[in-house]
């Protein structure tokens, strides 16, 4: 019975340990960026990539390799472009100061699409454009930016891509837009 008593004590201690560890699992003490990227996977922009974003200037040109712009919901940079992943993708950029509408009047995007695609573009959740593309070749869009849509700090260009699909060549990714460059002018 003495031996059994030892078992029960050990089991009770181990039970408490496992309950404690389980409780730690359920309440991570991490930053929002960490949670969004590592735990909920709501973003594909890692905390370090987000920290490394630097304010951009109108007139600057950013290709698909740029680290100054955050690619959230995009695949890795290929030689000529970067594919969107899934039915929504975002470009995140920082602006230092807003001095009226002369700062930036157009959003300039160069991209191609995977066959026929409907592309809806939003800036800071306000719709800018909805258009259907036939996938015939690369396009350059100059989208007028209404006054007051750009803001100091973080700005988000969101692509909603309802026709995103697998390309059918063995690539399992859900693709729609192959982005080449982005700029404000």
């Amino acid at each position: 019975m003495k031996g059994m008593h030892w078992y029960y004590t050990a089991m009770a201690a181990l039970g408490l340990l496992h309950v404690f560890v389980f409780s730690l699992m359920l309440r991570p003490s991490v930053s929002d960026e960490y949670r969004d990227y590592y735990i909920t996977r709501e973003t594909t922009l890692s905390p370090m990539q987000r920290r490394n974003l630097t304010p951009i200037e109108p007139g600057e040109y950013f290709d698909h390799h740029s680290t100054a712009v955050g690619f959230d919901g995009w695949s890795f940079a290929e030689r000529d472009h970067r594919w969107s992943l899934g039915s929504s993708a975002k470009l995140i950029f920082l602006l230092e100061e807003i001095q009226g509408s002369e700062v930036a009047q157009h959003l300039v995007l160069r991209f191609a699409t995977l066959g026929e695609q409907t592309v809806q573009i939003f800036l800071n959740d306000e719709p800018l454009l909805e258009r259907r593309f036939d996938g015939a070749g690369e396009v350059e869009l100059r989208i007028p930016v209404p006054d007051s849509l750009l803001q100091e700090g973080e700005n988000i260009v969101r692509f909603d891509l309802p026709d995103a699909r697998q390309p059918g060549n063995g690539d399992a990714r859900i693709l729609a837009v192959a982005l080449r460059s982005f700029s404000l002018s």
């Binding site: 050990a10 991570p28 003490s29 890692s46």
Partner: protein
């Protein structure tokens, strides 16, 4: 005398004494020499290949060994920092192996990389011995030399030499199953606890332990039921300690799992990964998918043989890594003790006899009466063991040459 489970015991009234260390060494002297011989042959082959390639031992510490080097030298990262997205940290690398390497490095006074290689090799030697002992309990028909050869000369034996956890994982899997096979549930739980601090799937040893416990339940007394439950509760202790450390260190007890995103290992259906591997067009993923299917077929064989403990462990130890992708599947598969045991059993199958008959003087596969017959029994290992050795050479050269698929 030996009890029913094969454990050596001396009974005198109610007193049972365990064999002394000296007795254990005397009893296992031959097996220790066998393990040492196979290990030295493996090391000799590696040395020849390194010389042939004009490389030295430093080339062996690559890929994950580099990550373990970071753990030994600087401990666990406070922030992710590596890879193009800056999202990789060394939290994915479990602590038991680098801790052992740190201890060996301190004793031998060598660099972290050298300590990791020495530690892996030491565990490799012990794992050959432990696998033979494990085979003697779970498949007594397998000759000791064949069991040793299956570990030492298999195509993926390279992972026992390169500063990876595979050899430590095999050693503690064998020890845990050895204890389980002898009905020592608390010892099995303790070995399982170490296993759970070696690799994420180590904690899954709780499954075979509980199955073994359930199988013994009808005949077990209250004392044994207590030991079964205690053994099962011991298994996750290694992982729990690591999770507590990670919570203190990063704020996320599951950081070891969440950081897998840096290697694009995102949990999905194993079927999806198999399908993409088989039909994706790239030959290496195709090979790994086929290997995974072979491993699952072997698991089915183990279930069919009613080896539920072995089968359940290999099932979960295959499906868990498979659910995150096919990369590195060969080493996750071919360092699993149950699968290696089944391979040893397969290699031991006798498929033909060649007999020399004195009267008519010819070789024959058939029995002939009235003649004096001499001959040899043909077994599968005679065909496959040389092939396996060739595979081992190919994989070692691939590692030395830095081929991507050895990762």
């Amino acid at each position: 005398m030996r009890d029913q489970s094969g454990a050596l015991s001396v009974t005198c009234g109610q007193i049972q004494s365990r064999p002394s260390v000296r007795m254990l060494i005397q009893e296992n002297y031959g097996l220790l020499l066998l393990a040492l011989l196979v290990f030295l042959l493996n090391q000799g082959l590696e040395y020849v290949l390194l010389r042939h390639a004009g490389a030295d031992y430093r080339v062996l510490c690559g890929w994950d060994c580099g990550w373990y080097t970071g753990v030994v030298e600087s401990g666990y990262d406070l922030q992710p920092h590596a890879h193009p997205r800056g999202d990789a940290a060394n939290w994915a690398f479990f602590p038991a192996f680098p801790l052992a390497a740190e201890a060996i490095g301190a004793v031998a006074n060598v660099s972290a990389g050298a300590a990791l290689l020495m530690t892996a090799k030491l565990f490799f030697l012990f794992s050959i011995f432990a696998f033979v002992k494990f085979a003697q309990v779970w498949a007594p028909g397998v000759p000791a030399w064949l069991a040793a050869a299956v570990v030492g000369f298999q195509p993926y034996a390279i992972y026992g030499n390169v500063g990876y956890t595979e050899s430590m994982f095999l050693l503690f899997t064998c020890l845990a199953f050895l204890a389980l096979g002898k009905g020592r549930f608390v010892a099995a739980g303790l070995f399982g606890a170490v296993l759970s601090a070696v690799r994420p799937v180590g904690v899954l040893f709780v499954v075979p332990l509980l199955i073994a416990g359930l199988r013994r339940l009808p005949t077990s007394d209250l004392d044994e039921r207590g030991r079964i439950l205690l053994g099962a509760m011991l298994v996750p202790v290694g992982l729990s300690m690591f999770m507590i450390f990670l919570y203190q260190h990063t704020g996320d007890a599951l950081a070891f799992s969440h950081v897998q995103i840096a290697w694009d290992r995102i949990p999905a259906s194993p079927v999806e990964h198999l399908w993409q591997g088989l039909w994706g067009g790239d030959p290496m993923p195709q090979l790994w998918a086929v290997m995974s299917l072979v491993a699952l077929a072997m698991v089915a064989v183990l279930f069919f043989k009613r080896e539920y403990e072995l089968a359940s462990f290999s099932l979960v130890a295959t499906l868990v890594p498979l659910s995150t992708g096919l990369l590195a599947m060969p080493r996750y598969l071919w360092w699993q003790a149950p699968l290696l045991l089944l391979i040893a059993q397969l290699l031991n199958v006798h498929f033909a006899s060649l007999r020399w008959h004195g009267r008519n003087g010819d070789w024959s596969r058939h029995e002939q009466h009235g003649t004096e017959a001499h001959g040899v029994e043909l077994r599968v290992w005679m065909l496959l063991l040389p092939l396996s050795l060739w595979g081992s050479v190919v994989m070692t050269m691939a590692w030395i040459n830095g081929e991507w698929f050895v990762v």
